[in-house]
């Protein structure tokens, strides 16, 4: 199966000239693995940085931290080389907030993500949510993709990924995961 290409929801193209705010962070997954609390600290920091764009700052901060924490934990868990930098970039375009994470992932994880995003683009997120929970009821496995499903279900997020090949390594892929959130969904909490 060719994993390279775009998968997931259709996102709204953004004009960089209309960007109001941007923050990009690069970090090493190993730092999150050895001190898991850093995922939460980073999510809270990024949420706190962007809360000033919203009328109800505590609500916005809570919503943003919840979503960002899931994406950061995924970067920690699913990056193939924990010593290779990953990035998180947040852009605010007025009515839209976009979050892009980028990391290198192994073939099995990339295959699973691709399938998950394709399914999420065509299936009711509430039903997917319950299905995932029932499916993993008896094991210590995490309900796969639950964090991403929740972002769609609870905040109407649109999710897509651009997958690129890593030169000279057919088992590794660069995954750029893009999340788009309407500002009013964040405001509503």
């Amino acid at each position: 199966m060719d994993l390279v290409g775009q998968v997931g929801d259709t996102l709204t193209p953004q004009d960089p000239a209309e960007r109001l705010s941007k923050l990009r962070v690069e970090l090493l997954p190993i730092d999150l693995i050895v001190q898991w609390r850093r995922c939460s600290k980073m999510a809270d920091f990024l949420a706190g940085y962007f809360e000033y764009h919203f009328e109800d700052r505590p609500v916005a901060s809570q919503v943003l931290s919840t979503g960002l924490n899931e994406l950061i934990e995924n970067l920690a868990k699913f990056s193939a080389n924990k010593q290779k930098p990953v990035s998180i970039e947040i852009n605010h375009y007025g009515e839209l907030l976009t979050v892009t994470t980028e990391n290198e992932a192994a073939r099995p994880q990339t295959t699973a993500l691709r399938a998950r995003l394709a399914r999420m683009a065509t299936t009711d997120p509430e039903e997917l949510f319950l299905e995932q929970l029932e499916h993993t009821a008896s094991s210590d496995r995490a309900a796969s993709g639950l964090g991403l499903i929740n972002l769609k279900k609870d905040y109407g997020a649109r999710l897509a990924a651009e997958i690129r090949a890593v030169p000279d390594d057919p088992e590794r892929f660069v995954v750029s995961l893009q999340l788009e959130l309407n500002v009013d969904a964040i405001e509503r909490g």
Partner: protein
């Protein structure tokens, strides 16, 4: 791996209260953290109340863990009330979906 406890679990005769921030690394970590609640559901002879109103953040591994408590209650037919704070976004949004797993689970706002 170093994990600072940012959450508090208080057990009572008729349930438990969970508060703080719970963003543990995996479902296995939650199974260990919530072992006392699992034991309480196993031994329950009456309804139980789980107070989550003070739980500010819960990650998706935690939601999976909560769902396992709900499904365990469902298996044992234990009536469960979950106390929530509707000002806390994840509680307002996610817990109603979780309640669909079990008809004898009721959500009650604090």
């Amino acid at each position: 791996m170093s994990v600072e406890a940012e959450y508090k679990l208080e057990m009572r005769a008729d349930g438990a209260t969970l508060s703080g921030v719970m963003r543990l690394v995996s479902p296995a970590a939650y199974r260990s953290a919530l072992a006392a609640v699992h034991d309480q559901i196993d031994a329950a002879t009456g309804p139980l109340e789980l107070d989550l109103a003070g739980l500010q953040f819960l990650n998706s591994s935690g939601i999976t863990a909560l769902s396992r408590l709900v499904m365990q209650a469902r298996e044992r037919s234990v009536t469960m009330t979950v106390i929530i704070d509707e000002q806390v976004s994840w509680q307002k949004k996610t817990l109603p979906s979780l309640a669909r797993l079990y008809p004898k689970l009721t959500l009650k706002g604090r």
